[in-house]
Amino acid sequence: MIRRFTAWIDYALALAVLLGAWWFATGPMAMPTYLLPSPLRTWNALAGIAMSGELWLHLGFTVQNIVLGLILGLVTGIALAYVMTRFPKLAIWVDGPLVILQTAPKIALAPLFVVWFGFGILAKIILIFSLVFFPVFIGAVAGFRTLDPKMKDLSKLLGLGHIQRFRQIELPSAMPEIFVGLKIGAVQALVGAVLAEWMSGKLGLGYLMTYAGATYKTPLLFAAVLLTVVLGLLMHVVLTMLENRLLSWKGAKR
């Protein structure tokens, strides 16, 4: 408890120092606003779009895309990994194409996704999905492959059906590796979401950045960048909490 508390104090101090430096650069050092807006101006820009409701529209859109992409990538990654470990013959066929897709820089494919799937939400979710899928898939394959053979004996002795075996034994025991993949995928998802919004559409934090940049509204640009950082931090916190809850049985984390 005390430990957690001091950790928070550390974070708060670091943030305060950063804020102080920022203020110093804009105040006493008199950096021009179009290069570095002051904390107050940034705050005002943020408050402005928050009041007008615009902020929630953009933030909601980005969060929604990330969540959808994460869920889609998670489910598909686990499903395909499971099928491949269950049917090793299939793995031989699927491995090659997967390696090509995996090594292809998804960012470079992003413009293609726009061409193929349009300016709407579909192209964005597909980009996020493609970024989340591989880390989850690789983690899940590792998890399913390292299943203790004695666990297989146990499920055979108990005559468990496929669904019971998956839900009760295989999925939980692969969970630590899946989570490693999911945490990497979540960072990628945020990058993908912002990038997709840069390229097309009129919504999202990424769009807000390009709009603010193009119209020289630097305080607004700063606000959007900061929001993205905070969003990334929040995702990290949520996933860590989820991990501590789901994987407490591992006992390594405190």
Binding site: M151, D153, Q168, P172
Partner: protein, 261 residues
């Protein structure tokens, strides 16, 4: 032996594996009939096929020939199995682990809890229901594994070197508790072990197996009074049996013409 007390009938069961360089005989034909409520120990060196025999009886592996008949009236899970390691699900509490066979068989939660709690008490883990496996010692985990194997009340209990991973003192305690559990539940138990002392101390009959190829060498009746305890270990008959088992294991099996190995 009357028909009704027969529990396991093993007739000419053998097992061969196909390896890169031809077939390997894991187990030469074994024939034995085991009575209901009997405690059988199986001793032998590594590679004598004792674990193979247990896996064949449990249905985990299939025999290359011969038949195994279990007198268990078509039960879905006729055997409980205790492995060398506890094989508990690390994300489930002790109670959930013990209850696992019942949960997956669709038994109601209230009923399953009652059975599981009784078993946890019987194996001496009362107070640890909510603990996770990693919070327990090796011996305690193995107790939990025994409780789990008993939870859906199988008539037969197969144990594959269940105490080989725990220290000697814990092992003595667990042996006595196993005898107590056996006496109170009336299960038919087959226990595989490396230890001739353990085999003689626990069983009604001891099956001696030899390696390369794995085969049943002989079966000894154990005429020691029950209940057994520290007095048994002072009994000259016990020592004579242990010595006999050692000799059985040391002298190579009936000559196969293969000489030294």
């Amino acid at each position: 032996m009357s028909q009704s007390e027969r529990m396991i009938d093993i007739a000419g069961v053998h097992k061969t594996f196909v390896a890169d360089h031809g077939t390997v005989t894991a187990l030469e034909p074994v024939t034995i009939t085991i009575k209901q409520g009997e405690f059988i120990s199986i001793v032998g060196p590594s590679g004598c096929g004792k674990s193979t025999l247990l896996r064949l009886i449990s249905g985990l592996d299939h025999a290359s020939g011969g038949t195994i008949t279990l007198d268990t009236a078509g039960r879905k899970r006729p055997v409980g199995f205790v492995f060398q390691e506890p094989v508990l699900l690390p994300w489930k509490t002790i109670l959930e682990n013990v209850r696992f066979p019942l949960d997956t068989a669709g038994v109601s939660r209230a009923e399953a809890d009652k059975v599981a709690l009784d078993l946890i008490k019987m194996v001496g883990l009362a107070g640890f229901e909510k603990a996770l496996p990693r919070q327990l010692s090796g011996g305690m985990r193995q107790r939990a594994a025994i409780a789990r194997s008993l939870s859906d009340d199988p008539p037969i209990l197969l144990m594959d070197e269940p105490f080989s991973a725990v220290d000697l003192m814990t092992r003595d305690t667990l042996n006595d508790e196993l005898l107590r559990i056996w006496q109170s539940t009336g299960k038919t138990i087959l226990l595989v072990t490396h230890s001739v002392d353990e085999a003689a101390y626990l069983a009604d009959r001891v099956m001696v197996m030899t390696a390369r190829p794995g085969k049943l060498k002989c079966v000894h009746d154990v005429d020691l009074a029950r209940p057994r305890g520290e007095d048994t270990k002072l009994d000259p008959a016990y020592h004579a049996l242990v010595a006999q088992l050692r000799r059985d294991l040391r002298t190579p099996g009936v000559a196969q013409g293969e000489g030294a190995h």
